[in-house]
Symmetry: C2
Subunit: 101 residues, 2 copies
DNA sequence: AGGAGTAGTCATAAAATTCTGACTTATTGT
DNA sequence: ACAATAAGTCAGAATTTTATGACTACTCCT
């Protein structure tokens, strides 16, 4: 018993909920559904957001496998964040949530 | 316009997500699905939880209309927290989330 | 009348999240 | 060569969330 608390059997939904509820996350998710996103654009279009938080949020969503980070090696050479398959699977859940809010 | 940012058109899912993701919330929700809950019992059975946070969490869930607070005027005279209809409507969403976690 | 149980509140403290502003690295346009 | 754009990182500050421990008020049992 190295950890007296939370010894494993935690709520499975907990982690996912916390991930999705973080600041700017739902915003990002919604935008990702609409199409590929780019860092600096997000910074401009999401009123009030700051680099740091967006950066962290994107990284978390990516780590969780909800977003794919893609380097586009063309013309202006940039990075795009796309909704992954796993991310798309969450869309109906978001819709239900919005439906009952 | 006390708040210069987030002037209205926010993600509808945002608030609900934040509500559900707070500490002990999923735990409480799960227990509420299993049956009526009582304050001191929760304090004992939820390892690591503290009065204050539970109190606040219950109040928030109640305010959001997910739990009903019922005073039982019988024998030992106590209070019970029940899952409301609105709360029950969230159950399938939780299940889906758990399914993909 | 005294002790235990139930359901909290309150002020304060510690911890986690989010924000700010300065700085970085690489690519592109003129 | 220089400035702008793109995509960040970093340290420190401000804010928000959670946790602690002490205390209240009411009921129940003996």
């Amino acid at each position: 018993m190295t950890t007296p608390e939370n010894t494993g059997k935690e709520c499975p939904a907990q982690a996912l909920l916390k991930l999705l509820a973080g600041k700017w996350k739902p915003e990002l998710f919604k935008l990702a559904v609409a199409g590929p996103m780019r860092f600096n654009s997000l910074l401009r279009q999401i009123n009030g957001a700051n680099k740091q938080s967006l950066s962290v949020a994107l990284k978390e969503l990516e780590t969780a496998g909800l977003l794919d980070k893609i380097t586009v090696s063309e013309k202006p050479l940039h990075i795009e964040y796309h909704l992954s398959e796993k991310g798309k699977a969450l869309v109906p859940i978001f819709e239900q949530l919005e439906g009952m809010a």
